[in-house]
């Protein structure tokens, strides 16, 4: 009995600091968001006014900025996931060949990933505005003269491009690790059986890369839906709201328009959507993995 009691006490003692910290920083704010989402509150007046589900109705009404920002976020996420994963696999396949400089190149691709996303946004803002102008004068290539941050469709692709550029190195190193784990004897057997290198890649390597693909697709999804810093630095959501993300909308609603109630409602809807999508994607990916 004495020992059991002591053990229970220790169990609490070792875990309580972590539980307290996540409760203060995550659970309490989360529960409060639930409460404030049912109120109208500007952060200044003492008492939030209870208005029931009014905020949620406002969110999904026709002219809502929020719905547009969700659509942008969805489009951004899909393109981001496709480009990061396809390009990262391509580069990783090249870098696992017997090239002497492979490690240096891997490092070069990784550099943008260690830089703050805000700074990455600024670097590209500089390049799109100043750098492209100079390059256009020198080369005369027409696309350099386009208004990459000033025209709606172009700005959208510019944001996707910069997002992928920043984090591609991360996915490359994950795929390199995955490719190195593909057993050599399986590939050799395929070669002996007369499979061409393309066939080997699509029929053998790619299916065996399953766990890496699951990890990378999942991570690119969770990172893309939260896109914020890059957009704030690069376009601030413009032009004309064409790069206005859901997280940016939540931020603006709360901290610039001071609509804390409506902002909280948006943040909860965002949470539910992200939760559902990530769980569905995870289920689908896991069910498709091949066992060796």
């Amino acid at each position: 009995m004495g020992r059991n009691k002591k053990e229970s006490f220790e169990n609490v003692l070792f875990t309580i600091p972590s539980i307290i910290m996540v409760t203060i920083t995550i659970y309490i704010p989360f529960i409060m968001s639930g409460f404030y989402s049912l109120t109208e509150w500007n952060g200044i007046s003492k008492e939030p006014r209870f208005i029931g589900l009014e905020n949620f109705k406002t969110l999904f009404s026709g002219s809502s900025e929020f719905v547009k920002s969700l659509i942008f976020t969805g489009k951004y996420t899909v393109l981001f996931m496709i480009f990061s994963n396809v390009l990262a696999i391509a580069v990783a396949v090249a870098l696992v060949q017997k090239i002497k400089t492979a490690n240096i190149m891997r490092g070069m691709f990784f550099i943008p990933y260690i830089m703050s996303m805000t700074i990455v946004g600024f670097i590209w803002k500089f390049i799109f505005s100043q750098g492209f102008a100079t390059l256009f004068e020198k080369t005369g290539m027409e696309f350099l003269n386009w208004s990459w941050l000033g025209e709606r469709n172009l700005a959208f692709f510019a944001v996707v491009f910069v997002g992928v550029w920043q984090s591609l190195g991360f996915y490359i190193v994950l795929y390199i690790a995955g490719l190195q784990a593909v057993p050599k004897d399986v590939l050799e057997a395929a070669t002996v059986d007369g499979a061409t290198s393309w066939k080997r890649f699509f029929r053998v390597t790619l299916p065996l890369l399953g766990p890496s693909i699951t990890t990378c697709v999942f991570m690119s999804l969770t990172n893309a839906v939260k896109v914020f810093d890059i957009i704030l630095a690069l376009t601030k959501g413009g032009p004309g709201g064409s790069t206005y993300s859901a997280t940016l909308d939540i931020y603006r609603e709360a901290f610039q328009n001071n609509n804390y109630g409506l902002g909280s409602a948006k943040s909860l809807v965002f949470f539910v959507i992200v939760l559902v999508i990530t769980q569905v994607v995870l289920k689908v990916m896991n069910s498709r993995e091949v066992d060796l």
């Binding site: 169990n11 995550i26 830089m115 996303m117 805000t118 390049i127 100043q130 390059l135 909280s264």
Partner: protein, 279 residues
């Protein structure tokens, strides 16, 4: 040409092509560096050209204007506080969570790791209010402490997965020798967790050092508490036509990360891969 020779030639071509792609890939970073060393006139006239002479005055001006030394100390302090708490608390909790299976530990495990599913933006509005009430907003120490809450779920998850691979016999023999639970953890288990601790440190330093949104909410109101990235953000906003100063501020903000990365590339990449695979 022989088959081996053909294969070798292919590899050389691949190396050259990939080399060119990699150079183009990091070229924007290089552009930032060269433009930070030009006087204003040269930046405007030709972005691509190398500086005719190195304008170090940009750096003295911006270092002084940003109070770079202070920002650097702020960043180190916030990151250090965050890391020590995350590593200490989450490794301690994971030890108990994976060794003892009771109703309580199962519940605790759930409570500690579930927050990984909640995006930061969902709670940021009310987080600010909570932190105002308990006085953790507006200070560097307070910000560092907040990172404990946000870092622990993922770190505890990674630690717990790894704990399962450490044989139980090791701590049992320590108990028989009369060591207390805490002592067993500190002197025997924690050293065995070295590789995971390393992974957690790499991931969390990269995250906290470069984080933007949480510092923006918590420590942006005073110059004494700002972080490097925050200050660079403000600075570039103010000097957005004076690109030479803006570039200098940006270089100063990312230079510490780049230097550390060049020195520790192998370990950092290993840590990031391990974190993603275990996480």
């Amino acid at each position: 040409m022989s088959l081996a020779g053909k294969k070798k030639l292919k590899l050389v071509i691949l190396a050259v092509v990939m080399g060119i792609i990699a150079i183009v890939y990091v070229y924007p970073v290089f552009l930032m560096f060269i433009n930070s060393l030009k006087p204003f006139g040269e930046v405007v006239v030709d972005v691509i050209a190398l500086p005719t002479k190195l304008e170090w005055a940009n750096y003295t001006h911006v270092i002084d204007k940003m109070s770079y030394g202070k920002l650097f100390i702020n960043n180190v302090m916030i990151t250090a506080i965050g890391i020590v708490g995350i590593v200490g608390f989450s490794s301690m909790a994971s030890y108990i969570l994976s060794r003892r299976r009771t109703k309580y530990t199962r519940l605790a495990h759930l409570l500690i790791t579930t927050p990984m599913l909640i995006p930061f933006q969902t709670i940021m509005i009310t987080l600010l209010k909570v932190m105002n009430v308990i006085n953790l907003s507006g200070s560097r120490v307070g910000l560092g402490i907040q990172y404990w809450g946000f870092g622990i779920p993922m770190a505890a998850f990674i630690y717990s997965n790894f704990m399962a691979t450490i044989p139980k016999e090791i701590d049992e023999s320590a108990f028989i020798d009369g060591a207390s639970t805490f002592r067993t953890f500190r002197s025997i288990i924690f050293p065995l967790l070295k590789s995971v601790t390393f992974t957690v440190v790499v991931l969390d330093v990269m995250w906290i050092w470069n984080d933007f949104l949480l510092p923006l909410l918590m420590v942006n109101s005073s110059n004494d508490t700002k972080t490097l990235v925050l200050s660079a953000y403000t600075f570039v906003g103010q000097f957005n036509t004076q690109w030479h100063y803006a570039m200098t501020a940006m270089v100063l903000a990312v230079l510490p990360s780049i230097i550390i990365f060049i020195l520790l590339q192998k370990y950092i990449v290993e840590g990031v891969v391990a974190g993603a695979v275990k996480g």
